[in-house]
């Protein structure tokens, strides 16, 4: 059936047609819409699968590996640092011979975090023992996903697969694709029914045992399975072509037979080059194209056969390999062509949106040269950005000159105006207010989330104090290291981690916990908008029961995590909640945290207009209603005792708070009563002094 789909939708359709049984993914741009589409398919009843919300990509991959060992066909999608965070489980899953399939919408890996197309995430995991299929367009994404399951689950292979497309460039562009019929896919792809790992109380096995001297055996078997996969891929491609009429292979050699010069590429760039090859051929140039469709197992023989007699080869790719002169794909091509006379050059187009004119430019320059080169394409230098980033100041610093910098006064605020947060964003409101009690002797550590992305984008920054944007999972650890270093260097400054609920409750909980346990003198300011807002509103551990998010289309079915109890379990920590509707209370708690010689955890519940679905003008009113109904309780916790700071004379019904927010509009009377009961219980406990 013909459909007009985005790359991410193609990913969802491919997974659906493969009848995946367990899906676990973690939001990350630009892969998130693929899993959101799968949520919708499940909600609409089109797909019978369990979707498990993970706390991180490492968790998502673990869930997939567990479910695959449990006998289910499993799926995840991610990219960039999300994929990097999966690493430990990636190697575990391939080692355990679990045919998990992942879709990757490739994107640069931070730091610096970018949002453009780059294959470093996938290709830097080339040794993780995953089959790697590089799709050229949406059609190939769907077809490759279906075939990937068939190939991965083959008894001769039993290795996981990656189906790789390009972030934004492919994930967010629409095209007409032929979506295969389910019945036909079912013929190709039977149910997954593993014999090497299985859960059966009547047939006990031990999976994944540690080994000693046998290690190389297991590794060698893995390597052999990769080699054997080549024939399996060929067979499956043949079968696929017979059913669906579309032909795929390990590589596609396009007009290479008589070619003097051949371009080699992967992914979406291939389609552009193919058109150009036709155009150049018309001009009489003997040019060809080699598409590396499968990168693992690397099709050495096919590459050698296609390229061996060419005079010149140019690998155009999106994955540099620092420390090597060449990109990752080029290194492999060179290895395959050891004895060839061809001059093999390399152009890196990482993070670039390539079109036909770019190929013209690359081609012309390449044709005019006889040497072998490895270069980055079109490195346009942005003088203005460099100047704005303070390059001149930096030079003075390097030259040992004295540099005077403008420093803030206490009360002035640590963030400038011009932040790209939404109109009426109370997370920013609360952060600004909180930081206003701090002066120049303050260091902030941030991570992924609305604060990070709305307050900084090279060379722009809103920060007027030292601030460091580390990765999303790691705020607690990085700030701990910073505290240790500052002590060693005799720097006396306040250290504040400003993090969203996702960063504290979920992906960063481990490092947050360890930092609290060690007792560093750090203030943790959690601006809690009760979901992953920066990636477009997915549930977090702090999303309240019943609230609708993209990953809970019918409302979150489980209650929130009690983060204060978790923090308190670490011993001597000052814990306080706050609300943007009560700025004086917020300021009082900020001052208190500043004065203490121990860790503080300040948890501010911040309405978010798009995430909570309300008119931005009503934000403070909603925050106030939160406190007046008891849905949000403002308290402090110290020495094992809770003190409630604002006790409403008569608590309003929680319904008044809920009904102002679109995210709760679907709740039934029974659900509202249930929430009311929970609020009453929580309030009674806190008022009695217990956390």
């Amino acid at each position: 059936m013909e459909m007009f789909l985005s790359g991410n939708q193609c990913i969802a359709h491919g997974a659906k047609l493969a009848r995946v049984e367990v899906i676990s993914a973690y939001p990350i741009t630009p892969a998130t819409p693929a899993s959101e589409e799968l949520y919708e398919m499940v909600t609409r009843g089109e797909l019978d699968a369990e979707i498990v919300n993970a706390e991180s990509e490492l968790g998502a991959m673990g869930i997939c590996a567990g479910a695959a060992a449990g006998g289910c066909r499993t799926f995840s999608c991610t990219c960039s640092q999300g994929f990097a965070l999966m690493r430990e489980m990636l190697w575990a899953a391939s080692g355990m011979a679990l045919p998990v399939v992942l879709a990757l919408t490739s994107r640069e890996i931070g730091i610096p975090q970018g949002l453009l197309s780059d294959h470093s995430d996938a290709l830097s995991e080339r040794d993780a023992s995953y089959l790697q299929f590089f799709a050229e367009d949406g059609q190939e994404i769907i077809d490759s996903l279906i075939m990937a399951y068939k190939i991965s689950e083959d008894g001769k292979v039993l290795l996981p697969s990656l189906v790789i497309s390009e972030g934004h460039r492919m994930s967010h562009s629409f095209e007409t694709v032929d979506v295969p019929e389910q019945e036909q896919v079912d013929k190709l792809l039977p149910k997954y029914n593993p014999k090497h790992v299985l859960v059966d109380p009547n047939y006990p096995i031990t999976g994944g045992t540690p080994v000693m001297s046998q290690y190389p055996w297991f590794k060698m078997q893995q390597c052999q399975a990769m080699q054997d996969a080549k024939q399996v891929i060929k067979d499956v491609c043949k079968e696929y072509a017979e059913i669906f009429g579309r032909h795929y292979d390990l590589v596609e050699a396009y007009k290479t037979e008589d070619a003097d010069v051949i371009m080699v590429s992967l992914g979406s760039t291939v389609g552009i080059i193919r058109e150009k090859v036709d155009e150049y051929r018309e001009k009489g140039i003997k040019v060809g194209l080699l598409k590396l469709r499968v990168f693992r197992p690397f099709p050495e023989d096919e590459v050698r056969e296609a390229l061996f007699n060419a005079k010149k080869v140019l690998v155009i790719e999106r994955a540099p390999s620092p420390g090597s002169l060449y990109g990752i794909a080029c290194i492999e091509v060179k290895a395959a062509l050891q004895k060839s006379q061809a001059a093999i050059s390399n152009i890196i187009v990482s993070g670039k949106d390539i079109d036909g004119e770019d190929i013209d430019e690359i081609f012309e320059s390449w044709m005019s040269r006889e040497d072998e080169f490895a270069e980055w394409y079109k490195m346009q230098y942005d003088e203005r950005a460099a100047t704005m980033s303070g390059y001149d100041t930096y030079q003075k610093l390097l030259n040992g000159e004295k540099v005077e910098r403008e420093l803030i006064e206490e009360g002035e605020g640590c963030l400038s105006k011009g932040c790209a947060s939404c109109a009426g964003c109370l997370s920013f409101g609360a952060i600004r207010k909180f930081l206003s009690v701090f002066g120049k002797d303050t260091v902030a550590v941030l991570n992924g989330g609305c604060l990070g992305t709305c307050a900084t984008l090279f060379p722009l920054t809103a920060w007027k104090i030292p601030s460091f944007f580390y990765t999303y999972s790691n705020a607690g650890a990085t700030i701990s290291g910073m505290e240790v270093a500052m002590k060693l260097k005799g720097i006396d400054a306040h250290l504040i981690e400003v993090a969203g609920d996702g960063a504290i409750f979920d992906i960063g909980l481990q490092t947050f916990s360890a930092a609290l346990e060690r007792g560093h003198r750090i203030i943790y300011l959690c601006y809690d908008n009760q979901a992953y807002m920066n990636t477009g509103i997915q549930s977090s551990g702090s999303t309240p029961y019943g609230a609708r998010t993209k990953t809970a289309p019918k409302g979150k079915p489980i209650r929130v995590k009690n983060i204060a109890q978790i923090a308190a379990a670490h011993g001597d920590v000052y814990i306080a909640t706050a609300s943007p509707a009560y700025p004086d209370d917020l300021l009082k708690k900020a001052k208190k945290a500043k004065s203490l010689n121990k860790p503080s955890f300040i948890h501010v519940i911040c309405p978010c207009p798009p995430g909570w679905e309300y008119d931005p003008a009503l934000g403070v009113e909603i925050a106030r209603l939160g406190v007046e109904t008891g849905a949000v309780v403002l308290y402090e916790y110290e020495n094992g005792e809770v003190t409630v700071n604002k006790v409403p004379k008569k608590r309003k019904p929680v319904e008044e708070y809920l009904m102002k927010q679109g995210r709760f509009s679907h709740l039934t009377k029974a659900q509202i009563s249930q929430i009311q009961e929970e609020v009453d219980r929580e309030f009674a406990r806190l008022i009695s002094g217990r956390l």
């Binding site: 730091i111 610096p112 490195m379 230098y381 003088e383 950005a385 460099a386 704005m388 980033s389 303070g390 390059y391 100041t393 930096y394 610093l397 910098r405 403008e406 605020g413 400038s416 105006k417 011009g418 932040c419 790209a420 947060s421 939404c422 109109a423 009426g424 964003c425 109370l426 920013f428 409101g429 600004r432 307050a455 900084t456 984008l457 090279f458 060379p459 722009l460 920054t461 809103a462 920060w463 007027k464 104090i465 943007p580 700025p583 207009p609 008119d615 931005p616 003008a617 009503l618 934000g619 403070v620 009113e621």
Partner: protein, 98 residues
């Protein structure tokens, strides 16, 4: 190439975002203050999430319609929180002229 970027994607400058993102251009509604109603209580400025309102130093005895607050229209995003929170109804949100 004589210059390069500072390693580590560092910015050795502060507040550069305000030079480029004039968030006032996002506005679809302008906050308009009725000076005769405003008493300078500062509630609006406490709640403005973008720090766009300052209270002016005005003597109590000044004429009733003396401006007591100033809104930074270069950055005000027009969220309407100030108007909604003002106890005197002194701020109206008015559709921006095209």
């Amino acid at each position: 190439m004589d210059k390069v970027f500072i390693r580590g994607a560092s910015v050795h400058a502060t507040g550069t975002i305000a030079l480029v993102y004039k968030t006032g251009t996002w506005r679809v509604h302008d906050p308009v203050v009725d000076n005769s109603k405003c008493i300078g209580c500062k509630i609006c400025s406490q709640y403005c999430p973008d720090d766009c309102i300052v209270r002016l130093d005005v003597d109590k005895s000044a004429p009733a319609d003396t401006p007591r607050i100033e809104i930074d229209m270069e950055y005000c995003k027009g969220c309407g929180i100030c108007a909604h929170e003002c106890p005197k109804g002194a701020i109206q949100m008015v559709v921006c002229e095209a």
